[in-house]
């Protein structure tokens, strides 16, 4: 944390919680100070000048004053409010999911500039018209990288043999691919189709601009989504709450403008 009494930082608001009558405690994610909570005073009053600038999923530059417990946000200038996200229920849920992953995986005050940039880029991609179906999968793969949980996709995590171009297994407990021979040696595993393995490797190696060009069939999309979700839940030791909401949205009938592929 900065030594001065007042400091400036870029931030994405991950979530907010009401405090007292008119205040809010915000969980911020910043490029230099990682994740921490701060107070926005009086923002629940309609006339608050600060109010709209500290909504969740807003990318801003903020001024904060050191406080005894929590620092206090004195000013906030919005860089991007990702407006189109807010008008689309599905995209908004995807964005909330990304924010929840960053929130759950990050320890307080742990600086990780890569994650900050990834989050901002992901929010931007989600607010574009017709985002690729792989935005969240790419986000997950990169996030795991930055956190030090990069899945091993070249060698079997048990016997270290090179993975062959066939159906294999993915083990959350092993942190990567299992060859078919080592199936019983890990506690948690699931089937991994060859196509899914190829897409995972592609996302690990390539830039988003390349990944965005990939069009996946529905069942491959679903396989990837559940594979990564299982791995993430294993690492977090809990379910991802906003994923449950996304599932319930998909179950209900989608209006005509929604995309077909699972995001």
């Amino acid at each position: 944390m900065s030594a001065g009494k007042v400091y400036k930082t870029e931030a994405v608001v991950l979530k907010g919680m009401g405090l007292g009558e008119a205040d809010r405690i915000l969980t911020l994610y910043t490029p230099n100070y990682g994740k921490f909570r701060a107070v926005a005073k009086g923002v629940r009053r309609p006339k608050s000048k600060l109010g709209g600038h500290v909504e969740p999923l807003t990318h801003s530059v903020m001024m904060l004053a050191r406080g005894r417990n929590l620092d206090i946000i004195t000013q906030s200038q919005t860089l991007d409010s990702f407006l189109s996200l807010r008008n689309d229920l599905w995209q908004m849920s995807c964005a909330i999911y990304a924010a929840e992953l960053v929130e759950r995986f990050s320890a307080e005050h742990a600086e990780n500039y890569g994650i900050f940039r990834l989050l901002v880029e992901t929010l931007r991609r989600l607010s574009e018209p017709s985002p690729s179906g792989l935005v969240l999968r790419y986000f997950e793969i990169r996030l795991l990288d930055f956190l030090g949980y990069r899945p091993e996709l070249r060698e079997c995590v048990v016997c270290r043999a090179s993975i062959r171009p066939t159906a294999n297994l993915f083990s959350a407990s092993g942190g990567g691919v299992l060859c078919p021979l080592c199936q019983v040696k890990e506690a948690v595993f699931r089937d991994l189709s060859l196509d899914a393995l190829k897409v995972l490797r592609f996302m690990q190696d390539e830039d988003y601009s390349m990944v965005a060009k990939v069009r996946l069939q529905a069942d491959l999309s679903v396989e990837l989504e559940y594979l990564l979700r299982e791995y993430i839940c294993y690492l977090l030791e809990r379910e991802v709450k906003s994923a449950t909401f996304m599932d319930s949205l998909r179950k209900e009938k989608r209006p005509q403008q929604d995309r077909v592929a699972a995001t």
């Binding site: 309609p46 600038h53 909504e55 999923l57 807010r86 229920l89 909330i96 449950t244 319930s248």
Partner: protein, 201 residues
């Protein structure tokens, strides 16, 4: 608290006050010692009022508002416009809207708002009860009056999805500039919405 009062009933009351929101250990102690000095009749009245609230206040089976009669005075009111339902997050929102005297329709309280990160989904809210009210064809307009923040918008959009196919007019409370506010200080989201919702003048 470091020091616990050795008189058990006093310590217990302090502990109970401390459980209330916004009441820290010092406030809990202050309230307790004030009550000790209060005339017995007054303290008893407080105890009875607390009991009455829990015993007699229920949720209206129609609109889910807090009430002591079922259906509540608004749902039952003959002079109310039964073709409109205004959907709000909490009972206090009804109080605020009623104070305007600008609305004569019915209400529905969701008792919360969709917040995916906190695990609050549609099943946790009184949405099923709202849909049930729309079945008899009497209702022509549903006004979505959830708060103009992320969770309120998510809830409004979710309800729009659910109720779209029903053919009922769905409206959203105007979101935009506050009276007495300044365009210069307004945030982008507010300004964008205010522009979207502009009307003939």
């Amino acid at each position: 608290m470091d020091f616990v009062c050795p008189v058990a009933p006093v310590a217990r009351l302090i502990e109970e006050f401390h459980k209330l929101p916004g009441i820290g250990p010092k406030s809990a102690q202050r309230l307790t010692y004030y009550l000790l000095r209060m005339p017995e009749a007054q303290a008893r009245a407080l105890a009875e009022a607390i009991q009455a609230v829990k015993e007699r206040v229920i949720l209206c089976s129609v609109c889910q508002n807090i009430t002591d009669v079922d259906p509540c005075a608004i749902c039952d009111g003959q002079e109310r416009d039964k073709t409109k339902i205004c959907v709000v997050e909490e009972p206090l929102d009804i109080m605020a809207l009623e104070r305007t005297r600008a609305y004569n329709g019915l209400y529905h309280v969701l008792h919360g708002v969709i917040s995916p990160m906190d695990g609050i989904g549609p099943e946790e809210l009184k949405i099923g009860e709202l849909l049930a009210r729309l079945k008899n064809g009497e209702v022509q307009e549903v006004i979505l009056a959830t708060n103009p923040n992320l969770e309120g918008e998510a809830t409004a959009m979710y309800l729009q999805r659910l109720m779209g196919p029903l053919g009922i007019q769905l409206t959203r409370l105007a979101r935009g500039l506050s009276v007495g506010g300044d365009l210069e200080y307004a945030d982008e989201i507010t300004l964008a919405r205010a522009l979207e919702g502009r009307q003939e003048f």
